[in-house]
Symmetry: C2
Subunit: 439 residues, 2 copies
Amino acid sequence: MRPALAFGRFRGTIGGVTIEIINTGSELLLGRILNTHQQWLCSRLTQAGYAVTRQVLVSDRGEDIQRAVREGLSRADLVITTGGLGPTCDDITRERIAELLGRPLMFDAAVSESIRSFFVSRGRPVPPRTRVEAMVPQGATVVPNRQGTAPGLRMEAAPNPFRPGGQRSWLVMLPGPPRELRPMFDEEILPWITRQFPQASAFVCRTLKTAGIGESNMEELISEPLRHLTDAGMDLGFCARVGEVDVRFVARGSDAAAMVAEAEAITRRLAGDAVFGEQDEVLEGVLVRELTRRGQTLALAESCTGGHLAHRITNIPGASAVFLAGYVTYANAAKARTLGVREETLREFGAVSEAVARQMAEGARAASGADWALSVTGIAGPSGGTPDKPVGTVWMALAGPDGTEAIQKLNRFDRETFKFTTGQQALHLLFRHLVRKAG
Amino acid sequence: MRPALAFGRFRGTIGGVTIEIINTGSELLLGRILNTHQQWLCSRLTQAGYAVTRQVLVSDRGEDIQRAVREGLSRADLVITTGGLGPTCDDITRERIAELLGRPLMFDAAVSESIRSFFVSRGRPVPPRTRVEAMVPQGATVVPNRQGTAPGLRMEAAPNPFRPGGQRSWLVMLPGPPRELRPMFDEEILPWITRQFPQASAFVCRTLKTAGIGESNMEELISEPLRHLTDAGMDLGFCARVGEVDVRFVARGSDAAAMVAEAEAITRRLAGDAVFGEQDEVLEGVLVRELTRRGQTLALAESCTGGHLAHRITNIPGASAVFLAGYVTYANAAKARTLGVREETLREFGAVSEAVARQMAEGARAASGADWALSVTGIAGPSGGTPDKPVGTVWMALAGPDGTEAIQKLNRFDRETFKFTTGQQALHLLFRHLVRKAG
C-alpha cells in the first residue's frame, strides 16, 4: 500500500444524484482497523460520474445504525451501508434496517441453498447460525456474494418516511469484508446504479498517470494549451501523490469524448515520457507488462530502498516472467561480494556515489544475466549525512544492452516516503529507456 | 503499511464522555486519498480509555461543515475536526465554525510571528495568504503546530446553542496533514483531554502482540485461566490481524493495574514465545532491537516473498546495524548462482522443498557472513500449484550458529496477504530461536 500523501485540488463533478455512505463496525470506531471502504467506494463512484456527499461511521449498536440510516434517507437518493450482514451476534444491520423501514424479514430458500453449497463445496459443515444470512427484508432484492456467504441487499424506500415530501430513496447493504464487497460492487451494484440513476448526459473521466514532473510544473506545462477545453467546460484536475502526479480530465455532454481525447493527446505530446500509464495503473505494473512484451528480463540492486523495489515488482502477477533477482546489499561488504563493487571505489568515492551506483547495476546485470539492471544507493537518514552528501542524497543507475546511465537525486522525506519516491525514480529511469527504444 | 484485514471482537470500554470526529476534505470524498485520521485518532483515544461514538466525513463546503459541527455539538461532549485550517481558498473550517458559533475572528500577533519565523528559519519568504492562519475565533485557545504553520484551535461552546439544555461541549480543530496533526494531538490535545475529562476511576489498557497461535486457539487457551479476572470486570479482547493476534486487557478501578498485570503474567506463561511484543510493536522491530542488543547480524534469502521481508526489516530505523544483505532469488538460476543452491537439488526436489530452503538459508549465511539467515521459498499462486505441492505451499529455513531448522506452511491467501503472512512466520521462527537462546 502507498503512503496516504496526496493533496488533490481536483474538485470533481457534482452530478444530480446524492449518495451517502454509512460504515458500521465497532472495530472501526476503536481504531483497530483502517476504513478502506470509504476511499474505495468514493473512488469508484467518482470515476463513474457520481459524487458521494457524506460518509458516516457508527458503531454496531442498533440505535446508532438506525439513526444514521434515518438521517441518510432524509437527504440522499442512495444510501450505501457496509458491514453487519454476517452471522455473528454483532451483525444486526439487516435486522435493524428492516425494523426501521417496517419490513418483516422473510426466509429465502434460494439464499439458504447457496450458503449451503458454499460450505459443501469446501468440504465444511454448514454453521447453523448462517441461517440468519438467508433472512431477507420484504421487498428487498438479493445481491449474490461470489466470495462469501452473506448476500448484499438492495431495497427502495418508497414512499420514504424520512424525506421531506416522501421522495423515494434507495438503500444498498454491502458485506464488510473487502474481498466480498469489492467484486459485488463492481459486478452488481455499479451497473445497477448507472441504470437506476442515468447520467443526464454523456460523462467521460480519464486519468493520466505521470512521474518526473512536479504538480506545479505539470500545471504550468498544460493549463494554457488546454485552456480552450477548460473554457468549454472540461474539468482539469491534478492530484499529487508520492512520486507521481495524476492528471484528470472530466467532461459531460455530447462533445465529452472528443474533448477528453484532445486533452489527452495534447498532454501526451507536451509531457512526453512523463506519462507512464492510465487510470489506476502503477509504474511497476506497466514495466512488467512492457518487459514481458519485449521478452526481456530485470534485476535489481538495492541499498537504501532496502527491498521495497523488489517487493513492488513482485506484487505484480506475472512478475516471475521478467524478474530474475534482487540484491539488497545493505552492507558495503555485500556490495563488494555479491555485486563485485570494487573495494577501492567504495573507499575513494563512498557507497553513495555515481561510481558505486554504476558498479552495482553492472554487477547485478552480470550476476543475474538479466537484460536490464537497476541500482539504488543513498542516504535515507535521519543520520548519515555529511556537508558533501546531505541526508536524502541518492545515486541510481540503469545498466542495459547499450551501456549504463546514472542519475542523482535529492530526496528529503521520512523513511517510507523516501523509499517509495526513490524507487519510483529508478523505475521511471527504466521506463524512459524502454519508451525511447520503442520510439 | 499492513493489509487492513482484521476482524476484531474487542468491544471497548465505553466511558462517560461522548466524542465525535468530523473529517473535512473534498479530496477524501472523491476517494483520492485514504482517511487515516479516523483510525489513528480512534486508536489513540481508545488506548487512553475514551470512546469515539461517531465519525463523519463531509466536503469542504461551508454549509456541510457547519451542519456536521451543529449535529456533533448537539450530541457530544467533545467534537474534533480535521482539515481546512491551511491558507488556501478551500481552507474554511476555522472561519465557518467561528461564524456558526458567533465568534468574531481576531488577528493574533503571536501566531503571526510564529508563522513568520517558521518561514524565515527555512530561508523562505512568508506567503501573504498565511495571514489567515493567524486569525483566531474569539475565546479560542491556540494550540501550537511544531511541524507546520496553521495552529490548532480549542474552544468551549458554553452555553451550547445546539445541545438540549444548553449543556456545554468542547470543540478541537486539528490541521489536515498527518505529520502536523499527530504530534499536536499527542503532545497537546490528549493531555488536555485527560485533564478536562478525567476518568471516573483508574484505567489500564494493555495489548500483547502474538504470532503463531490463531484467534480461536488463543481464546481457548487463555479464556478459562483468566475467567476470575473477567468475572471481576476486566475486559478481555482479541483482534485477529494478518499473521498475528492482539490480546487486550482493559480494566478500571483501584485494582485495575493488578488485574491487568496478573492477566499478562498468565497469558505470557501459557502462550510462551507466541507473545512477541507489547502495544504497537511490530515483529521486525522487536527483532532489530534484539539482534542489536546481542551484537548479531541477519541475512535474508527470499523467493516467494519477493523482497517484502527485506523491506519490512529496513523500515526499522537502525536496521543497518544488524541487516547485512537480502537475496531475492526469484529465478532458479539466481538461487544457484548467488546462494549456491545445487542444480541437482533443484532438479530432484523442486524449488519449493525443504532441501532448497535449507541450502538457500545456509548459502545466504555464507555469502553475507551474517550470524543468522532466513530463507523462504513457496508457491504464491494463483498458478504454479501441483497435486503434490498445492498453491500456498511454503518452505522456510533459519540457518544459525547451531545449525539449520526448516519448517513447512500452507498459506492460501491473495498475493499481498500471502507475502505478509509468510514473512511473519519466517520472522517468528527467528524470534523463537532468539528467545530460546536467552532462556
